[in-house]
Amino acid sequence: MQETIKYWKGYEELEQHPEFVQHAHNEFPEFLPLAEKNEDGGTSRRDFLKLMGFGLGAATLASCEAPVRKAIPWLNKPETVDPTISNFYASTYFTGNEYVAVLVKNRDGRPIKVEGNPMSPVTKGGTSARAQASILSLYDEGRARGPMQGGKAADWKTVDAAIRQQLAAAGGKTVALVTGTIISPTTKKAIAEFAARYPSFRHVMYDANSASALLKANGGVVPGYDFSKADVVVSIGADFLGAWISPVEYSWHWAQKRKLKRENPEMSRLFQFEPLLSLTGANADVRAAVKPSQLPAVAAALYGAVVGGGGGASINKTADSAIARAAEELKGARGRALVVCGTNDLASQTLVADLNRALGAEGATIGAPSYVRQGDDAAMLALIQQMNAGQVGAVLVAGCNPAYDHPQAAEFKAGLGQVGLKVSFADRLDETAKLCDFLTPDAHYLESWNDFEPRRGSLSLSQPVITPLFDTRQFPESLLHWAGNNTSYYDYLRTAWAGINWDQAVHDGVVEGGAGLLTVTAQTNPMSAAAALSAAGQGAGSGTELVIYESVQIGFGGIEANNPWLQELPDPISKNTWENYLAVPRALAKTVGVEQGDYVSVTANGKSITLPVLLQPGMEANTVAVAMGYGRTAAGKVGDNAGANAYPLVSVSDGGLIFGATGVKIAKADKKRTELAQTQTHHTIMDRLVVQESTLSKYRENRNEVTEYEKLATADGPQPPSRVSLWQDYAYNNHHWGMVIDLNSCIGCSACTVACQAENNVAVVGRQEVVNRREMSWLRIDRYYTAVDHEAKDYTTMEDAADQPQVVFQPLMCQHCNHAPCETVCPVLATTHSTEGLNQMTYNRCVGTKYCANNCPYKVRRFNWFSYTDDDRFATANAHMRSDLGRMVLNPDVTVRARGVMEKCSMCVQRIQLGKLDAKKEKRRPKDGEIVTACAQACPTEAILFGDMADPESRITKVLNEQHRERAFHVLEELNVQPNITYLTKIRNGEVMDSIIKKDAGKKQPA
């Protein structure tokens, strides 16, 4: 056995010292103070270094990390969906307010833009501001995420079971379905099926801006007014271009008679009698301001003058002469004349219906009837009474919000307390839904299958363009479920449409020429003409009167109140945003002792609301006006408390609603003056050559003299500005894009403004920033008040608008100057001229000196003062650039601009590029009309024409050649900036207005 040899490192090991034994198993058995804790418990140097290294590394890494945004690729990509290619699907926008047949642009499976459907015989490819903005409502944060029971989230199974059970328990009591107007035949079929299941069922329709009297006088339908066939139009308080019944349809019709042909120029003439300056009044050739209570008298006087039978009460001088003139012209245009009336007064409507018959309008200027209003005021009022009497067992509310938008909202709310089962189909927990037991949210129209019949025989479809974002179910499907029919609504719809070529219908979105599927109940109690005449002839109300009108932006019922695009869209007339106001004529404000921005309390019918004053020209001298649809309390973060709710002030009389009141009291409220968020605060044109207008007779005389062209004094005598230039012109060898805007067709409806906002990802900045004059819209519509008498005045008096002004609209976007002042002054070449005539912004390069905006004579450049995408102060107003839900609406073709960057109209360069690439793929030139800017596409009157000015065959070139030195002009031509946007002089058919006004002295008050 070998002897064990012992190796040792030191005497400690050899002698096995206790200390050595203790450390023997350590990595470093020698006593190393570095490896472990100090005796005093502090951190050792190594640990310190380790910790510091780790800490520093971790902190650095953490600060490097960018926020993670997840993009989930397709697992199985649908064949038709390509990430960079948009698909368009035909659909239909109808929220009770207005009907628009639309095409929905879909990108990566999400709808991002609404366009008009040009195949629609009703809306002809036009859109309205509200239809354009409806895309944003799909991504509204305020929408309900799913069914709710007692204000708490629930699931459909429970909710369905509970509702079925409670419906069954309703017993003999009425089961009432309260809705807005329903124009869907299949929905009505579903309702009928539901009604069959519950025998005590009643369906009550009401409109938050009622046309009940109109329906009564016309057998339950809206007559199919066709303004395109009318040479003389008389409107008694009907804002048919702005908000009345079906403005998109009417605007297109109307524009057909306003587009001026060079040879044999003809135009319709519009007489407008109204208490406040409406969009239609702004476009009228002859306009007379009358008290709201005098509108029936106008109808009576007109009836008397045309048909006979008295009605000769004097209204006011202007109105009397205008009525006489209108009657004369109506009589001379039988079969080519049309009278419309916007009041909810049965006598006036009866007279107007008779008048139209007498003028031979039926079959000429009145075609197939329209179904877009079916509400019955009396039925709703009766229901509220029944509810309060405890006779109603269940109330189902769909597509309306009676706790907010009914004049008897208080009674309705009280009545709800007596009702056993209350169900709301609202898309959010709105004022009514809050009081209901159940919220069974309806899907957004872009998530729904449905059919529509706006006009007898004209059908259209809506189809889902996205999977429902939330756990919602279409309202008719819910009804079917509760009626015991468990088919899906899609199948139900297919069955109902069995006889129609479905694929074609889905593709086109519209079906024309059918017999019509919808049936409406004629509202009873028509009036005789004689009775109407005597009723309407009664004298006007006394004292200050109030009109409650429907605004162009928000519409009635406040359905779109939570839509920031619409809230920030300036009112076409007052240019105010974000709230409603009391429009007061200047003289009356002086009498009351208030100025613009002062809060007043308006008391009518024993109720009062408080809101700020806006001094509004064009009002009848003793009339004030307020828009409905504002002042909601449960619309969502955007719409809540924007303005005041005017519905309580609506008068209820004789089973009908009158949207106004007499004997109104206005008193200054004890609230600090506010600055109204107007986008335009200077209203007159200051005797400048900015927007040009002339009259039809002058145009007929010599069309070369309707437009004024500035000349510059030179050594060789006066010369056109383009001759006096230091600039070298660009050569446009390929394309030269440009626009022509016909001021004759532009009605100021602002659809283009919202279309631009949607197309180009334009930020919403909120009320305060509009007050700070920093709205971002790339396309604005300037509205100027002009006086009929153009006498030379001093500058101070020029600033005040006339009390009864004429109005002119001018859409203004970047003029894409060929000698652009902005391009020369940018120090970093962030704004440059393209080879195709576009003035283009390179956002990445922009450092934000704002010099370009200063040097822009048109002031169309918009600066990103803040980071609208992540500054908390814009979280509510600009949610669509901030939240994951909202961002789905953004157009991926357009950069979202960063803080500190200038932006402006790009002439939809992304669309131009797309059009060129599409053409290139097919090895051809882009065709004229193939590329359309968002504004031109949205315009319901086709006032904007976009095209290639270098193409001799394009429409724009032809128009420019024709109109050269006639109606074509550039704004601020004297600067010789040579814009690519050309305007056509507005021609009024209003010589008569001059003669009427001349007779009527004292139109202007001292400043």
Partner: protein
């Protein structure tokens, strides 16, 4: 030029007869009073650098730093949230920012004018004020240069103003843009002014270095004086360089404000698009610059007891320049109105009517009162020589010139071509904070300068001591001799003064000019 003058001085010294007992009546009032010797000059000026700071200086510094604090807070809000923190809007995109910029640039004009142009014109009275005036220029330009940077939407990209090679392909600056011209004009002006100013400081730093007792001061001033020895070679080079720099600076005096005025003149905006702007802006700049020099010098001469160096002669001379330039500016204002009428351009006419009678009439009225009316009071000699009145009026001119820029920028923009875009503009507290903040920065820098740098150019004052000092003659406030001081008549003071105690130069070099 300087060397020539020195040469002449020396010649005169040689020519002086030892028996000179006659009295020479001064042709001009003396520029240095109080019978100063070379040593007095060194001592009077350097002692402020050497002594511990007094309470008033400290108090002033604390106040100035408070203003700097306001600036920092306002700047934080501007940079963190964006220039939306200001009151600008879609129509008025420049407001207080560019107003302040032009105002500060204008103030920065007097320094170079005094040091360069007056040097070339041999205006010897400039000697006792040029140092402070140049310092003021530097600080004013620093304040001014901040505005073009922070007024940008994305100031972190300010370097894109420079035509530097980059990796972005063909990206380059736009040489058509007046803003780019500004960058060149102001950076050139700033660099040249700074070099010129520093160059003049070197001999005086050397003097302080030589007198310094503490090690830090010794080291610091030794570093700052770049090893100046006062040798003839140094002086010779100094003279050449300052002559060259004066030559370079002189056109800059005209170019800077000419180019600043082109920011407006080359635009299309009525009220901006005016060919009269370059001369009018230059005159205005000199006007405001001299006013600011007066404001500062009157305070300095009171607090630092330098009345013998900054005399009433200086104040009067500057007041005369203020009257002349103020009148030029006034004529320019009237010419603008005439041209607006004569042009028959409606927008142009409206712009000027609106200036005078529109919503900003008060700004226009302030401008006219302060700039055109008030300097005319200097036609009265008693007012010209009244220090308190001059001080008040210099403040008036500064206010008036600020309003001039405000009037030009804001009243032209707020109502330009299309009435639909007409707006009002008012600043927010952030904008006001930035403006008063730059005043804090300016005052802080000036106070530091006054404490650590010689506020008066010692060696240059010494050069005029013999020719333009009134030895033994006491001078009243009007500059008239009252009688003889001293018992033995009018001995040549220089001969008394020169000696080993007379200052730094004495043991470095025999050259009298280094004192």
């Amino acid at each position: 030029m300087v060397s020539n003058r020195f040469y002449q001085l020396k010649t005169i010294n040689h020519q002086l007869p030892s028996t000179a007992m006659h009295y020479v009546s001064p042709l001009r009032p003396p520029l240095v009073t109080g019978a100063k010797t070379y040593h007095d000059v060194t001592h009077d000026i350097a002692r402020h650098v050497e002594n511990p700071p007094n309470v008033r200086w400290l108090a002033a510094l604390v106040v100035s730093l408070l203003f700097v604090g306001i600036f920092m807070y306002s700047l934080y809000r501007t940079l963190w949230f964006g220039i939306g923190e200001w009151g600008l809007n879609k129509t008025v995109d420049w407001g207080w920012d560019i107003t302040n910029f032009v105002w500060w640039v204008g103030i920065g004009h007097a320094g170079t004018l005094i040091s360069a142009v007056l040097l070339l014109f041999r205006q010897k009275w400039r000697s006792s004020i040029n140092r402070a005036a140049e310092a003021m220029t530097i600080f004013a330009v620093i304040c001014a240069a901040m505005f073009p940077v922070i007024h940008m939407g994305r100031p972190w990209l300010a370097l894109w103003f420079l035509p530097f090679q980059n990796t972005y392909g063909p990206l380059w600056v736009n040489f058509n843009s007046p803003l780019l011209w500004d960058v060149f004009a102001i950076s050139t002006y700033f660099s040249v002014s700074l070099v010129f100013w520093y160059l003049g400081l070197i001999p005086d730093f050397a003097t302080i270095r030589d007198r310094a007792t503490g090690p830090i001061a010794k080291y610091a001033y030794a570093f700052l004086s770049f090893g100046w020895t006062g040798s003839a070679k140094h002086w010779s080079r100094y003279e050449y360089v300052s002559l060259i720099l004066a030559g370079i600076s002189t056109p800059l005096v005209l170019s800077v404000h000419t180019i600043v005025s082109m920011d407006f003149a080359t635009s299309v905006i009525p009220g901006w698009h005016t060919t009269i702007f370059p001369p009018y802006f230059v005159a205005g700049a000199i006007f405001s610059g001299f006013a600011m020099v007066l404001t500062l010098m009157i305070v300095t001469r009171e607090t630092f007891k330098l009345k013998d160096y900054i005399t009433l002669e200086h104040i009067e001379s500057m007041n005369i320049i203020i009257t002349v330039t103020g009148s030029i500016v006034g004529v320019a204002y009237i010419t603008e109105f005439f041209i607006a009428w004569y042009s028959q351009v409606p927008a142009e006419q409206y712009c000027f009517i609106n200036r005078a009678t529109g919503p900003y009439w008060w700004a226009y009225a302030s401008m006219m009162t302060c700039n055109v009316v008030s300097p005319q009071l200097f036609w009265f000699r008693s007012l010209r020589r009244n220090v308190i009145f001059t001080f008040i009026l210099s403040i008036f001119v500064n206010i008036g010139m600020w309003f001039e820029r405000f009037v030009i920028i804001v009243t032209s923009l707020h109502r330009d071509y299309l009435p639909s875009s007409w707006v009002m503009y008012s600043p927010t507290y952030v904008e006001v904070g930035i403006f008063v903040g730059t005043m804090g920065i300016f005052m802080t820098l000036f106070l530091l300068f006054a404490k650590f740098f010689p506020v008066i150019n010692m060696f240059e004052v010494k050069t005029i001591l013999k020719s333009s000092s009134m030895p033994g003659v006491f001078v009243d406030e009007q500059g008239y001799a009252l009688g003889h001081g001293g018992s033995h008549g009018n001995a040549v003071p220089a001969q008394h003064a020169v000696g080993p105690t007379a200052g730094a130069g004495a043991y470095h070099a025999p050259d009298a000019t280094s004192h």
